[in-house]
Symmetry: C2
Subunit: 404 residues, 2 copies
């Protein structure tokens, strides 16, 4: 018996016509696949509209009430899709996070999945029904409604696929798959047939927006193959799977970029224990996600600490960093949101020495100055001037032979 979980994002269910089109697609799938479970996001801009309503009432609404509010978006789209499926003669039933027993912890607005029951999903599938599940939402053991945070519907789909031992999980989206670079920057970028979970996670955290790293991590932990594909045509997309299952292993999979970060440098910090801890502790407390952190070698008992954050958080960061800098008698703080982070990702790096050198040389050849470097076993990230960003992506893409 085949079982597949399909997830349709907000742009795929943007309006009534698109919902009908998704319904037709699901009906087609049901002809080939024994059991189909569909996870849906909220319609188009619904979530933004609800957030707008809330913020016109309170600057910091209780997170529990935000979850009550936001979870309605997916409930609307699941009901409409179930109606559209029944209208096509396909027996279908919608289910809330509570009904599929998507049990989470109690962290409202960013809950983590603890357990997926899915008993009732299985019962309904056995009746020949398509089960349409509200993405993004869960429930605590106390019956409180939670939401899973950004990209939560992907995580819902993967978690259900894992609980139901699905053959694979299809992520329908508005792009054709995972590319070797952003096609808007590199027109000759190629759609990858396969990438590993680890590569996909690095791509997600370095600027590729097609999947959230959390859902990929979940898929890796439960070994759920993902198929990222377009909701607008039938062409194959990109498979995200275990490295062991990938047939043609590329050395480099992608060049990614992130133009949305800012660099902060605390200058002349006294080189004594505890300074970095107090700075990054305060930033964490202010809910700021710090990406790269670099501390230069100490010189004359003083050092510089540089880090990158999302530009959106820069106001919060200014406040926190300014206070800490004063408290530890740093010489000053420099803020720079005119940067780009360019990353090279590939599982093959682990076995092919010289990739980093090739990257740095290529950038140098094109007069792109590197301001920060950070690496993982399968990733090298460089911070450069934002005006050099596109050049850096294009030349690296070419140098490493990623074009078709």
């Amino acid at each position: 018996m085949s079982l597949v979980v399909q997830k349709y994002g907000g742009t795929s269910v943007g309006d009534v016509e698109k919902i009908k089109s998704v319904a037709r697609r699901v009906v087609e799938s049901k002809k080939r696949i024994d059991h189909v479970v569909v996870v849906v996001s909220a319609l188009g801009k619904t979530t933004d509209e609800l957030v707008g309503l809330a913020s016109s009432i309170s600057k910091s609404p209780p997170e529990r009430e935000m979850d009550m509010l936001l979870s309605t978006g997916e409930q609307v789209s699941m009901a409409l899709l179930a109606m559209a499926l029944n209208e096509l003669g396909q027996d279908a039933i919608s289910m809330t996070g509570q009904q599929v027993e998507m049990l989470t912890d109690t962290s409202h607005t960013r809950a983590k999945i603890r357990h997926v029951g899915a008993e009732r999903v299985i019962q309904e599938l056995r009746k020949g029904r398509v089960v349409v599940v509200a993405g993004f939402q869960g429930v605590t053991t106390e019956g409180e409604i939670t939401t899973l945070g950004r990209g939560g519907s992907d995580t819902t789909a993967v978690a259900l696929a894992a609980a139901l031992h699905a053959d694979y999980c299809e992520i329908y989206t508005d792009v054709d798959g995972v590319f070797s670079a952003d096609p808007r920057v590199v027109p000759e970028a190629r759609k990858q047939k396969e990438v590993s979970y680890e590569e996909m996670m690095e791509m997600a955290t370095t600027g590729a927006r097609v999947l959230q790293s959390r859902s990929v991590e979940y898929a890796r932990n439960y070994n759920v193959p993902l198929h990222v594909r377009s909701s607008f045509h039938d062409g194959e997309g990109t498979w995200v799977k275990s490295e062991d299952d990938i047939m043609e292993k590329a050395i480099i999979s992608a060049v990614t970029h992130d133009f949305s970060e800012a660099k902060v440098t605390v200058i002349g910090v006294p080189d004594r224990p505890g300074v970095a801890a107090s700075l990054f502790g305060a930033l964490a407390e202010a809910n700021v996600n710090v990406d790269m952190i670099i501390q230069n070698v100490s010189d004359h008992a003083r050092t510089d600490i540089s880090f990158t954050v999302s530009s959106d958080d820069l106001e919060k960061v200014r406040k926190v960093t300014g206070e800490i800098a004063e408290a530890v008698s740093a010489a000053g703080v420099d803020y720079d949101d005119d940067i780009a982070k360019i990353s090279l990702i590939g599982a093959g790096m682990r076995t092919h020495p010289g990739i980093a050198a090739g990257m740095f040389q290529t950038l140098a050849d094109h007069k792109v100055n590197i301001e920060m470097i950070s690496t993982s076993p399968i990733k090298i990230s460089c911070v450069v001037r934002r005006s050099d960003g596109a050049t850096a992506v294009r030349t690296l893409h070419k140098h490493f032979g990623l074009q078709d």
Copy 2:
């Protein structure tokens, strides 16, 4: 300890500003009352919009999915009101029908309440919180979401008031209370201080739109005093309570009218057993609510059967009645939606003979012809030409001394 349930309808929570204004009102109430539970309807036109979405997908969407869809409206308004209360410094928590254990039967879109647990409501009230409950929705023992049909939020409020042994239940609405007639037809109509449950139920079923008869019936069964009042000012409204608790008993409480009905007459029906049963059985099956039914005395083995229905149902009625009329070889069917139903309501009728005669004489004096008559112990309804409707209401209102 005082405990009051307040219900705010769709026009009272029509937009963000109105929600803030309701929140201020609740905070004021909380200063006087120990425990306040608030029941809310969906924002303004939300329910209509959701129905519109559904009908653009399917002409007859599954009722279960309609409930999934429609129940989101109240979930949005309860979350926003809870946010607004917290913003004013009043600790508040919202709850779905499931969380307050509003257990219903399984009749989707028109579920009946079977039991109200309200355990968690009591726990939250004890913490000093205002509890904001989604009106209109319930849940089955299987965890399926249901809705209570038209006026369902009033019923939610009354059911909670009964379960919590509330002192009374306030129904906030866009009118000042219950009037002796519709002020748009009779400008000198007076706001009633008190009416009995029975009178209110008769008024609701004869055209007064301020409360649904079902919620009043529930209130009567559990002896929950209702206070119908304006959400726009602090003035007293109308109390709906047990007849025994009413201080100044009026003979006549109100003249109501209903201009939305149509009269159907099946002419020349063979006078044999089973004809009426098959006609009204078929109408019930088609989900048509029949109001008045009159059968004239049989003459020459043939009789006429007249009945009234909502004009909205006239298309359905034409189909069903036409078929039955043909099947029983009736002479024909006459449809007339140019009628008005005028009713006189008052508990005092039971003990004051001559009220009916006075009504008929008053109408005759003003040349208003009566086409159908139907009575209950505390109500007399007459069907007249629609063009005579306003005259009939005004003259009866004057004749029975209902003006101030």
